[in-house]
Symmetry: C2
Subunit: 191 residues, 2 copies
DNA sequence: TTGACAAGTGGAGTCGGCTCCACTTATAGT
DNA sequence: ACTATAAGTGGAGCCGACTCCACTTGTCAA
C-alpha cells in the first residue's frame, strides 16, 4: 500500500469520527465525510465500500476496549460464576448504549452483517461470552455454547434492545431477564 | 377514503407482488412498482412511506396464514406441550424460509422496525408464542413470558438466521438448540 | 536520475428513495 | 345539475449512495 493512501485512510477515520461527534451518525453523508476529509467520494469508497463498513471499522477500537475491560475484570475478580456473567453482561449493555448509533448503523446495513459475523471483532465477542456462559449453563451439547453466545448477541441487537427499552424495561430488568434465560441453576433466587 | 384511492392501493399491492415474484425483492425499485402500476411515485409513497412498509403490508397476509395454520394445529392436536412448542416453531421456521426476502426487507429497514413491533402482526406472533412457551417454561416472573417470546423472534431475524445456516446448522439443529434453550425441564432427553 | 507503470485519485455521472406542490377529480351539500 | 372543496395524483426534482474512468503520482528497477 502506498504511503499517501495510508494517510488518506487515517484521515477518513479521524474526519468521520469528528463529524459523528458533531452530528448523529445517520445525519452524516458519505459525501460530507469525503469533502471534510478533502478527498473525492471515489477515494472514500475505495477504502470503505459503504457507510456501515466505515462504522464497522470505527467500532473496532471500541469493541476491543470493551473486551479488554471485561477480560481485565475477569482476570482480577474472585466473584462467583453467576456474578461474573452478570458483570460482563452489564458492561456489554453499557458499551452498547454508549455506541448505540454506530452499532445501529452496522446492524441495519444489510450488506455488512455477513462481514461483521466473519470479523475478528465478532469472534472476540463470542469468545468472551462463551467464557462466562460456560460455567453458568448446564451440561451442553457440542456447539451449543457457541450457539448461545450467538443468540445472546442477537437478542441485544439495536432494534431489539430499543424495543425492550421502549417497553419500559430498564437495563437492570434486561439483565435479570437474560440471566434467568441463560443461567441454568436449581431455581435462581431473585436479585 | 375515496374509491379511486382504494383501487390504487389494491393495484399497488398486486403489482408489487407480481414484480417480487418475477425478480428478487431487493431488485425491484419503487419507481418500477409505480410505473408498472401505472401511477406516479408520489401516489405510491402516499400509500406506503417506504419500501419496507410496503413489504410489511404484504407480509400481513402471510403472517396471518402462518398464525391461522399454527392455531389450527393447536386446536386439534393431542400432542404434549413440548411437541406443541416444537411443532409451532418448526412451522415458523418454514414460514420464515418461504418469505425470506420479504422479511429481510422489513427487518433491515431501520425505519419500519418500530412500526413492525407496534403492529397487530407482531402482537399476534407474540401471543402465539406465549401460548406455546408458557407450558414449557418453568415458573416465570411477571413479564418474563412476553420477554421470552420477544427474544425468540429476535433470535430468528433474517441476519441471525442466515448466519446460523451458513455456520452449517440445519433447520432441525436450530430447532433443537432453541428448544434446549427455551424449554425448562429436568434435563431434556435428546431428540 | 529517470522512465515505466502499478497504485491511487477525484469528480462527473447513474440510480434509487423520497418530497413537494401545482394540478385534477370524486363527492357531498345545495 | 352545479358547484366548492377536500381528497388524491403524478412527475419534476432533490439528495445521498455508490460507480466509472481519465488522469495523477509514488515507487522501483535500471
Amino acid at each position: 500500500m502506498r504511503k499517501d493512501a495510508q494517510q488518506n485512510r487515517a484521515k477518513i477515520l479521524a474526519t468521520a469520527a469528528q463529524l459523528f461527534r458533531e452530528q448523529s451518525v445517520a445525519a452524516v453523508s458519505m459525501k460530507a465525510i469525503a469533502t471534510a476529509a478533502g478527498i473525492g467520494p471515489g477515494t472514500l469508497y475505495r477504502n470503505y465500500p459503504n457507510k456501515s463498513a466505515l462504522c464497522l471499522d470505527m467500532s473496532m477500537t471500541f469493541i476491543q476496549e470493551f473486551v479488554a475491560d471485561a477480560q481485565q475484570y475477569l482476570y482480577q475478580t474472585t466473584d462467583d460464576a453467576v456474578t461474573q456473567f452478570k458483570q460482563v453482561l452489564t458492561r456489554y449493555l453499557r458499551f452498547r448504549e454508549r455506541r448505540l448509533q454506530l452499532l445501529a448503523s452496522i446492524e441495519n446495513g444489510a450488506t455488512v452483517m455477513p462481514a461483521y459475523y466473519k470479523s475478528d471483532l465478532y469472534h472476540e465477542l463470542i469468545q468472551l461470552f462463551m467464557q462466562v456462559l460456560k460455567p453458568v449453563s448446564g451440561p451442553l451439547l457440542p456447539g451449543e455454547l457457541k450457539f448461545r453466545a450467538d443468540m445472546l448477541i442477537a437478542m441485544l441487537k439495536s432494534n431489539s434492545y430499543a424495543y425492550q427499552r421502549e417497553q419500559g424495561l430498564s437495563r437492570d430488568d434486561l439483565l435479570t431477564q437474560i440471566s434467568r434465560l441463560m443461567i441454568k441453576s436449581a431455581d435462581p433466587l431473585k436479585k
